[in-house]
């Protein structure tokens, strides 16, 4: 069943919408959530919460990018469940991710406070400036919280190639944010 058909079920308030959503995207959403929380139960709860949120919001929402719509909700739920203080003990990948992201923060904007949506706009513009391959790798790492090994396997490249792309992209992001920091 394609996205439009599933969304029609949501609009019809047909509970099969949930089942078809789960059949189509359940596994992907679980992997995303599990990458973040590193706990099966929390990941499953994040996915379930995602379906409920979708049920509550469609309609009136009619997502153009249905999977992205679900994934954003799921990622937010997973991040909400994350116990940041104990994340390191649980070896959550998100700890590494935030540390890597720390390298992207230029000293000049370290004190800046950005609204999330404004930062999102800047990040979107930055991502669109990348080569498609580097954008995919960056998003897999920092949006989907994939490990370097997962990314290497997904795209059939070496782990060192993944790390090289990530390293260079982080440096570019740092300089991009530095430039943006002048006017935010």
């Amino acid at each position: 069943m394609d996205d439009n058909q599933i969304i029609k079920l949501f609009f019809a308030r047909n509970e099969d919408a949930i089942r078809h959503t789960d059949e189509t995207y359940g596994r992907r959403l679980f992997v995303l959530a599990d990458n973040i929380v590193r706990n099966d139960q929390d990941a499953e709860e994040s996915v379930s919460d995602t379906y409920m949120k979708a049920w509550e919001t469609i309609p009136p929402q009619q997502p153009l990018h249905f999977f992205a719509y679900l994934a954003k909700i799921c990622r937010n739920f997973a991040l909400g469940k994350l116990d940041w203080k104990n994340a390191a003990k649980r070896k959550a990948e998100v700890v590494s991710l935030t540390q890597e992201m720390e390298q992207c923060v230029p000293d000049t904007t370290r004190e800046a406070r950005l609204e999330g949506e404004e930062l999102g706009r800047i990040l979107t513009d930055f991502l669109r400036s990348l080569t498609p391959e580097n954008r995919l790798v960056f998003m897999r790492r920092y949006w989907y919280a994939d490990t370097v090994a997962q990314i290497a396997a997904r795209y059939g490249i070496s782990e060192s190639a993944v790390m090289t792309r990530l390293s260079r992209t982080r440096a570019k992001l740092c300089s991009y944010l530095e430039k943006e920091g002048i006017r935010v």
Binding site: L64, T98, M101, T124, I182
Partner: protein
């Protein structure tokens, strides 16, 4: 803003990017590259990139040991599809030595079947190299003159056959006669390549004579100006790509100024009249000048000391000038001293467009006393601001005993540095001094690999007693 903010901020990126990352594949540039694998006429493309070499040396000279991605503004490649080194099969790469001198090596790289029609771009990697000398017992690495230098000059290749230089002089100096091998990466995403070569006694050049003349001057004042690249005919350039040739150099440093007096020196870079960056060696301490980004009218935020200094960084500049592979005009005064060096280099840009770089070095007649006074007037007792309360929330305190437990009032930055040094356990390569005036707290930030690997923070009160030690960054997990 911190790393977590960015990570969380990603939740707001556009949804098409999220779906692209879930369902997309390496299909555009990479696959296009694979499809373009077909024989083509081989054409040698000289890509010595004089400016990249000189700027890289300047950066090394300036002590910018952090990883620097050097992109030349106005390069006509941005609107072309890109291929990564990781996408190139190792067996398709052939690298051969073309020429050797005691300071550099010219190699040729042939990439089989790369980017037909010159419409694809490959990133080249021009970074640190390792030089080993052949001895009776095997290969032995030469001692480095600069340990912490690590920069990347990012170049872009539009043809599969090119020549470029590996310049080791800033790191290893000039090599004596003997058998050597150099190992360097060349292509991102590929393992390093190793090339063997031999240095003979007769490899001395007039450029080296000039370099030594520059190095051996006891004092100098030099102004270096980069002209905007001039392009030849754009008749054969697609309309969409023409903008890349005419893009203004707004973000670039376009001139540099050096003052040297004995062992001390000062180096500033400018964009127009605006000071962008600077470095200084004064009384045995190395300083970096930070630009005040949020107030362009007040460019100088403070001199921040670095722990080590290698004066070879300065001499690297002289060799960069003298070793430049370009048409060079040297004008001398009546007394034989150098008045001006004009370097001019023409090479092919993409689409076979001629591109000419011009760099002018003016050796000014500034008296030694005036240079000494300028250096003396540089105020190093300055610091950046920070928020003590916010730092306490952001960086957890380490549970370690303090060394500074009795009062030693801090009167100047130097006092704070000396006290903080007793507490520091990190292998840092840069120090930044902060102060919260309201709280009366000093913060000494020790950067590990320029912060890329992490930070250690030592906090002192005005009595010179340590009140907190924290750390952050990947090194500290």
């Amino acid at each position: 803003m911190n790393g977590r903010d960015i990570f969380l901020g990603l939740r707001y990126v556009d949804e098409d990017l999220i779906e692209e990352a879930e369902f997309g594949r390496f299909s555009s540039a990479a696959q296009a590259f694979e499809k373009n694998q077909k024989p083509k006429k081989r054409r040698k493309l000289s890509r010595t990139l004089l400016i990249a070499a000189i700027i890289a040396c300047l950066l090394a000279l300036a002590g910018c040991g952090t990883v620097i991605y050097l992109t030349l503004a106005g390069e006509p490649w941005d609107s072309m599809p890109h291929v990564e080194g990781a996408d190139v099969s190792r067996e398709d790469i052939q690298i051969t030595v073309v020429a050797v001198s005691p300071t550099e090596l010219l190699y040729q790289c042939d990439l089989a079947g790369f980017g037909t029609e010159e419409k694809s771009v490959l990133y080249l990697y021009d970074g640190p190299c390792t030089i080993e000398r052949k001895t009776e017992s095997g290969w032995e690495e030469l001692p480095r003159k600069i340990e912490d230098a690590q920069w990347i000059a990012e170049k872009r290749l539009t043809d599969g056959h090119y020549q470029d230089w590996i310049r080791w002089e800033p790191y290893y100096g000039r090599l004596d006669a003997g058998a050597y091998r150099v190992t360097t990466r060349i292509l991102e995403g590929q393992d390093p390549f190793t090339l063997e070569f031999e240095i003979t006694e007769d490899m001395r050049t007039d450029k080296m004579e000039l370099a030594e003349e520059l190095v051996n001057r006891e004092f100098w004042h030099v102004r270096e100006t980069y002209g905007k690249p001039e392009y030849g005919s754009l008749d054969n350039v697609p309309e969409e790509a023409k903008k890349d040739f005419t893009r203004p150099q707004e973000e670039n440093n376009d001139s540099f100024e050096y003052w040297k007096c004995g062992d001390d020196y000062l180096h500033l870079s400018y964009n127009g009249d605006q000071i962008m960056h600077g470095m200084m060696f004064k009384n045995g301490v190395k300083y970096r000048l930070e630009r005040e980004w949020d107030s362009v009218k007040a460019p100088i935020a403070g001199w921040m000391p670095w722990p080590d200094m290698d004066l070879n960084r300065l001499t690297a500049w002289a060799f960069a000038v003298a070793d430049a592979r370009a048409d060079r005009t040297v004008t001398r005064r009546d007394d034989g001293t150098i008045e001006k060096i004009v370097l001019r280099k023409t090479e092919k840009a993409s689409y076979d467009v001629d591109r000419t770089f011009t760099i002018t070095e003016e050796f000014l007649d500034t008296p030694r006393e005036e240079i000494a006074r300028l250096l003396e007037e540089q105020n190093t007792n300055v610091w950046l601001a920070f928020d003590w309360e916010a730092d306490q929330k952001q960086y957890p305190a380490l549970d370690v005993p303090f060394q500074n437990t009795s009062p030693h009032p801090i009167a100047a930055v130097a006092d704070a540095l000396a006290l903080a040094e007793k507490e520091c356990t990190a292998e840092y390569n840069m120090v930044v001094v902060y102060r919260d005036e309201t709280a009366g707290i000093w913060k000494i930030e020790y950067q590990i690999n320029y912060g890329h690997l992490g930070y250690q923070f030592v906090y002192l009160n005005d009595d010179g007693m340590t009140v907190r030690i924290s750390s952050a960054g990947p090194k500290f997990g």
